[in-house]
C-alpha cells in the first residue's frame, strides 16, 4: 500500500542507489577496455541512456495504442509524458555520444556513428510531435492525432536504423566500429546496474511529471468549479 502511494519516492530512491552504485563501479571497479582504455567507460552511461530513451518512446507508443483502443483520456497524458521523458534522454544520448565521438575520433560529430544519427532523426521527429500538440486545440482530436504520431515513432525507429545502416554503403564506409571483443562478465554486470539505474530514473521522472500534469489539470477543473 505504501509502495503504491509513494511510487515516485520508491522509484527515485532506487534510481539514486543504482546510479550511484553503477557509476562508482564504472569509474573505480571495472577494468579498462583492452582496445579503448579508460575512455570506454563512457559506454556505461551512453548506452543505458540511449536504451532508456527507446524504452520511453516505446512506453509512449504503448500508451498511445491504449488510448486508441479504450478512448480513455488519461492515456493521452501518459503517452505525452513518456515521449517527453524520451526526448530528455534522447538529448542526453546525443550529448554523451558526441563526447564519445570526441574522445575516440577527435570530432564532435560523426555521421558514421549509427546511434548518434538515429537519435538526431528521432529528435527531429519527436520535436515535430511537440509542435503538433502545441498547434492543435486540446480535445479528443488532438489526443488521437498525437497517439497516431507516437505510434509512427516506434515504427520509424527500426526503419530509420535500417536506413542509416544502408546509407553507410554510399555516404562513407564505416571505419570505426564499437563491436569489439565480447564484453567481459564484470563489464556486463556494471552495464546492467547502470541500465537498471537509468530506467528507474526515467520511471521516477515519469511518475513525477505525470503527477504534476495531473495536479495542473485538476487545478484547472477546480478553478472552473469555483469561478
Amino acid at each position: 500500500m505504501w509502495l503504491r502511494n509513494n511510487r515516485g519516492v520508491a522509484l527515485a530512491s532506487t534510481a539514486a542507489l543504482l546510479l550511484l552504485g553503477g557509476i562508482s563501479l564504472a569509474f573505480f571497479w571495472v577494468p579498462d577496455d583492452v582496445d579503448q582504455g579508460f575512455s570506454q567507460r563512457i559506454f556505461y552511461i551512453h548506452v543505458p541512456v540511449a536504451l532508456t530513451a527507446y524504452a520511453c518512446f516505446g512506453w509512449g507508443a504503448w500508451k498511445a495504442l491504449r488510448l486508441l483502443w479504450t478512448r480513455e483520456v488519461r492515456y493521452d497524458l501518459e503517452s505525452y509524458t513518456a515521449v517527453h521523458m524520451g526526448v530528455i534522454f534522447g538529448i542526453l544520448t546525443l550529448v554523451t555520444g558526441s563526447i564519445w565521438a570526441r574522445i575516440s575520433w577527435g570530432v564532435w560529430w560523426s555521421w558514421g556513428e549509427r546511434q548518434l544519427v538515429l537519435f538526431l532523426v528521432l529528435f527531429l521527429f519527436y520535436s515535430a510531435y511537440f509542435m503538433l500538440r502545441y498547434s492543435t486545440e486540446p480535445g479528443p482530436r488532438r489526443e488521437r492525432m498525437s497517439a497516431v504520431y507516437a505510434l509512427f515513432g516506434v515504427v520509424l525507429i527500426p526503419v530509420s536504423f535500417l536506413a542509416i545502416r544502408l546509407a553507410e554503403g554510399f555516404i562513407h564506409p564505416t571505419v570505426f566500429t564499437r563491436d569489439g571483443p565480447q564484453m567481459a562478465g564484470s563489464m556486463f554486470f556494471v552495464f546492467c546496474v547502470c541500465l537498471a539505474g537509468t530506467l528507474t530514473l526515467a520511471g521516477a521522472l515519469y511518475a513525477n511529471e505525470l503527477l504534476g500534469k495531473r495536479v495542473d489539470a485538476s487545478l484547472r477543473e477546480l478553478e472552473e468549479a469555483l469561478a
Partner: protein
C-alpha cells in the same frame, strides 16, 4: 467492391477539382523544374553525377511536399472533411483516394522532372524509375495521413514539413542508394519494405485522425 467504388468516386472528385481549379499540378511542375535549375547553380562544376542524383531526390521530396500541403485544401476551407467522414463509407477509403490523387500528381510532376534531369545532369535508367515509383507510394501514403493531421491544426502549412521530413529520411536513403550504389537491389527492397509498413500503418490509423 463498394470499397473501391467509394475510392474511385472520391479520387475522381479530386482529379475533377484539380482540372477545374488547376492550382496544384502546374505549381508542382514549375517547382520541380525550377529546383533542378537551382541545383545546377548550386553544384560546383566538377562535382559528380552522383551528387546530382542525390539532389534529384531532394527535388522530388520537396515537390511532393508542395503537393501535399494542397492535398486537403478544398476540404479544409469549408470543413468538407466532416461531410466525407459522415458518409457511411470506410474512412480509410478517403485516405486511399486522396493518396491516389496525390500520387497521380506526383507521377505527372516526375514525368517532367526525370526527362529534365536526364537532359540537365545524368542519364536516367530503369532502376531510378523503379526507385521513384516505390518512393512515391511511401510518400503519398505517409504524406496524406500527415496532411490530414496538419489540416486539423492551427499551423497547417508550417506543420506539415516538420511532421513529414523526419519520416521522409528513410525514403531519401532508399532512393539515393538505388540511384548511386553499385547494387541497387537492396535499396529497392528497403523502399518496398517502407511502403508496406507505412502504408498499412497509415491505412489503419487514418480513421483515428479524422474522427473523434
Amino acid at each position: 467492391m463498394t470499397y473501391f467504388g467509394d475510392v474511385a468516386a472520391l479520387a475522381r472528385k479530386d482529379i475533377l477539382l484539380e482540372l477545374r481549379s488547376r492550382d496544384t499540378l502546374p505549381a508542382m511542375l514549375l517547382f520541380v523544374v525550377s529546383t533542378l535549375v537551382v541545383f545546377h547553380f548550386a553544384l560546383p562544376s566538377d562535382s559528380s553525377d552522383l551528387a546530382a542524383g542525390g539532389l534529384l531526390w531532394v527535388a522530388i521530396v520537396f515537390t511532393a511536399l508542395l503537393g501535399l500541403t494542397r492535398a486537403f485544401a478544398a476540404e479544409r476551407e469549408q470543413r468538407l472533411l466532416e461531410g466525407l467522414v459522415l458518409a457511411p463509407c470506410d474512412r480509410s477509403a478517403i485516405w486511399l483516394a486522396k493518396g491516389a490523387s496525390v500520387m497521380a500528381f506526383l507521377l505527372l510532376a516526375e514525368a517532367v522532372a526525370l526527362p529534365a534531369f536526364a537532359l540537365f545532369f545524368a542519364p536516367v535508367d530503369a532502376t531510378l524509375v523503379a526507385a521513384v515509383l516505390l518512393a512515391d507510394i511511401g510518400i503519398a501514403a505517409v504524406g496524406t495521413l500527415l496532411a490530414a493531421m496538419a489540416a486539423a491544426s492551427r499551423a497547417r502549412e508550417l506543420l506539415l514539413p516538420l511532421l513529414f521530413l523526419p519520416l521522409a529520411i528513410p525514403v531519401i536513403v532508399g532512393g539515393v542508394g538505388a540511384t548511386v550504389a553499385e547494387e541497387p537491389a537492396r535499396y529497392l527492397g528497403f523502399l518496398a519494405l517502407y511502403d508496406l509498413l507505412f502504408a498499412i500503418l497509415s491505412w489503419a490509423s487514418f480513421e483515428y485522425v479524422v474522427t473523434e
